[in-house]
C-alpha cells in the first residue's frame, strides 16, 4: 500500500477551525474506502513508532467493516476523501462552518495546485503525491 503526501493550506479565516494552523502536511493511503470511512489518524503527529515501518492506515476501517467475507471497496485517493478526512481528524471546532452535506460549505473556495477546483473535477479530483490543496473562506469580514 503506497502513501501519498499532500500539502493542505487554509486561508480567509478557515485556519481558525483547524487549530489556527495554516499549512498542514498530510500523508494518506493512495487507495481509500469508497463508503466514506476514514483511516485512523496517522499523518501529522505519527504515534511514537516502535519500528521504522510506516503505519498502515488502512487496517482500522477494514477490520471494522468486515460484516462478512466480502472485501471492502476502495477507490483512488480523491479530494472528496480528503475533505472528510480533514473534518474528522484535523478540524477542532464548528464542523458546520467547513462542510455542508458532502462538500465544502458554499462560500469556501478550493484551489488544487493553484487552479480553481471547478476546473479540476471538484471532489472527484484524484490526488497525486505532492499536490497542493488550498481552502479559503470568503465568508469573513470585508
Amino acid at each position: 500500500m503506497s502513501t501519498i503526501t499532500v500539502k493542505v493550506e487554509f486561508g480567509g479565516g478557515l485556519e481558525l477551525l483547524f487549530g489556527n494552523k495554516r499549512v498542514h502536511s498530510i500523508s494518506l493511503p493512495s487507495s481509500v474506502p469508497t463508503d466514506g470511512t476514514i483511516a485512523p489518524s496517522n499523518s501529522e503527529t505519527p504515534p511514537p513508532a516502535k519500528s521504522d515501518d510506516p503505519p498502515l492506515p488502512i487496517n482500522g476501517p477494514i477490520r471494522d467493516l468486515t460484516n462478512g467475507p466480502g472485501e471492502a471497496k476502495t477507490k483512488p485517493l480523491d479530494v472528496q476523501y480528503l475533505m472528510h478526512y480533514l473534518r474528522t481528524r484535523l478540524l477542532t471546532e464548528r464542523p458546520e462552518l467547513f462542510m455542508e452535506g458532502d462538500t465544502v460549505r458554499p462560500g469556501i473556495l478550493v484551489l488544487i495546485n493553484d487552479t480553481d477546483w471547478e476546473l479540476e473535477g471538484e471532489g472527484a479530483y484524484e490526488i497525486s503525491d505532492g499536490d497542493d490543496i488550498v481552502f479559503i473562506s470568503t465568508l469573513h469580514g470585508g
Binding site: 458554499p106 473556495l109 480553481d116 471547478e118 469580514g141 470585508g142
Partner: protein, 355 residues
C-alpha cells in the same frame, strides 16, 4: 482532467471559472478582466473627476484591501488624476480591530497612501467594548453600523475629501436587496443598489465593486498575494444578514448568476408615487447637525440611550417614545464633533482640490 486553455487568450492554462460568465480563464487574463470591469463600472457611472480627493474606507479585510490595490492600479493606468487616502475607523474592539488596523498600517506602506484613523472613542466617547459591556451582545451591531456610517463621513470631512469609496461587493449588495425585501424596507430597497449616494457635506459615497463577485475578489487577493486580515468580529455577527448570506450562497451554488440577477431586480424596482410620499423628509439633526429623518439622528439617539443607561430601549421608534416619556434629555449630553473645517484647507496642499 486535461488542463483547459484560457477562453480569452487561448494560450495559457485556465486557472479560474468565472462565476458571472462561466468562462475559464488564465491568471493574467483574470487580472486584466477583473480590473477592466471595475474601470468600466467607474467610467460608466462617471464616479470621479480629475483632481478629486478620494478616501478608501479601509478595514484591513479582503474587500477594502483589494479595492485599495485596484484603485491605485487604475488611477495610474488610466490617469484618473485622483488623490487617494486610506480612512479607517477604529471601533474599539480589542483583539479584532486592533489587529486589523495593523494590516491597514502595512497597506499604507505597501501602497504609499496617507492614512487617517478615527476612533469611536474619540467621536462618541464610547468604544464598542464599552458599548457591549453596557448593553450585551444583542443588538450591538445596530450601534456599530450606525456609528461607523457617521464616523466614515466625519473622517472624510477631516481629510477634506470629495468622495468615499467602500469595498461593498456584488454579494453584499444582493444580500442587502434580499434583507430589505424581507424587512419591507422600501426606502432602503430603492437606495441600496445605487452605485453612488450623497452623504453629509455633499461627500459622495461609491461602491466600485458593485458588480464584482466575492469569489473573484478573494481569488484576486490570493493570486496577487495581497496582505489582508480575516477574522470574524468577536461580538456576534449580524444574525439576520448571516441568514441572508447563507441563503444567497446556496443560490449561487445552484446558479452563479443569481447574485447579479438579484442586483438587477433591485435596480428595476420602481416606487409608486404614493409610496414615496409616505417616506420621511430628510432634515438635519437638532443636536449634532448630521442629516437625519427625525429630530435627532440615529447616532445621537443611540448615544443618548447609552448615556442615560437606557440603551437597550432605543433601537425602535416605539422605544424612543418610551425614553421621551421618562423625561427630557439632560443638558449635558455629548455632541458628536463634526470636523467641519472651512473648505480651503489650512495645511493640506492640493492645487486641484476645488471643483
Amino acid at each position: 482532467m486535461a488542463p483547459t486553455s484560457c477562453a480569452l487568450c487561448q494560450n495559457a492554462k485556465a486557472i479560474l471559472k468565472r462565476p458571472k460568465t462561466g468562462q475559464q480563464i488564465c491568471k493574467e487574463c483574470f487580472f486584466f478582466v477583473f480590473e477592466t470591469e471595475v474601470h468600466n463600472t467607474i467610467t460608466q457611472a462617471h464616479l470621479f473627476e480629475p483632481g478629486d480627493r478620494v478616501a478608501i474606507g479601509a478595514s484591513g479585510g479582503k474587500d477594502s484591501t483589494v479595492l485599495a490595490y485596484v484603485m491605485k492600479t487604475l488611477n495610474e493606468r488610466h490617469n484618473y488624476g485622483l488623490e487617494l487616502f486610506l480612512l479607517s475607523i477604529d471601533e474599539g474592539i480589542t483583539g479584532y480591530r486592533d489587529d486589523s488596523l495593523e494590516t491597514v498600517k502595512r497597506n499604507q506602506q505597501q501602497y504609499n497612501m496617507p492614512l487617517k484613523i478615527l476612533s469611536y472613542e474619540e467621536l462618541y466617547g464610547w468604544t464598542m467594548d464599552a458599548v457591549v459591556a453596557e448593553i450585551g451582545k444583542k443588538n450591538n451591531c445596530t450601534f456599530c453600523g450606525v456609528f461607523r456610517r457617521q464616523a466614515l463621513d466625519r473622517g472624510a470631512s477631516a481629510l477634506q475629501v470629495d468622495h468615499i469609496v467602500t469595498g461593498h461587493n456584488a454579494d453584499d449588495i444582493a444580500e442587502t436587496v434580499l434583507m430589505n425585501i424581507m424587512r419591507g424596507d422600501i426606502a432602503r430597497l430603492g437606495r441600496c443598489t445605487q452605485i453612488c449616494t450623497r452623504g453629509e457635506d455633499t461627500i459622495r459615497r461609491s461602491k466600485p465593486f458593485k458588480y464584482a463577485y466575492e469569489k473573484e475578489i478573494v481569488m484576486y487577493a490570493y493570486f496577487k498575494k495581497l496582505d489582508y486580515f480575516s477574522t470574524e468580529c468577536i461580538y456576534s455577527p449580524d444574525a439576520y444578514r448571516g441568514h441572508a448570506r447563507t441563503f444567497l450562497k446556496d443560490l449561487e451554488a445552484a446558479r452563479p448568476s443569481a447574485i447579479i440577477d438579484i442586483i438587477h431586480s433591485g435596480e428595476a424596482f420602481e416606487l409608486r408615487e404614493d409610496v414615496k410620499a409616505t417616506q420621511k423628509q430628510q432634515q438635519t439633526c437638532k443636536r449634532c447637525g448630521y442629516m437625519s429623518s427625525n429630530d435627532l439622528c440615529k447616532a445621537c439617539t443611540l448615544l443618548e440611550g447609552l448615556e442615560r443607561g437606557m440603551a437597550s430601549s432605543v433601537i425602535t421608534d416605539r422605544a424612543r417614545k418610551k425614553l421621551d416619556a421618562v423625561g427630557p434629555a439632560p443638558d449635558n449630553l455629548r455632541t458628536i464633533p463634526h470636523f467641519r473645517s472651512p473648505r480651503p484647507a489650512v495645511s493640506i496642499q492640493s492645487p486641484s482640490q476645488q471643483s
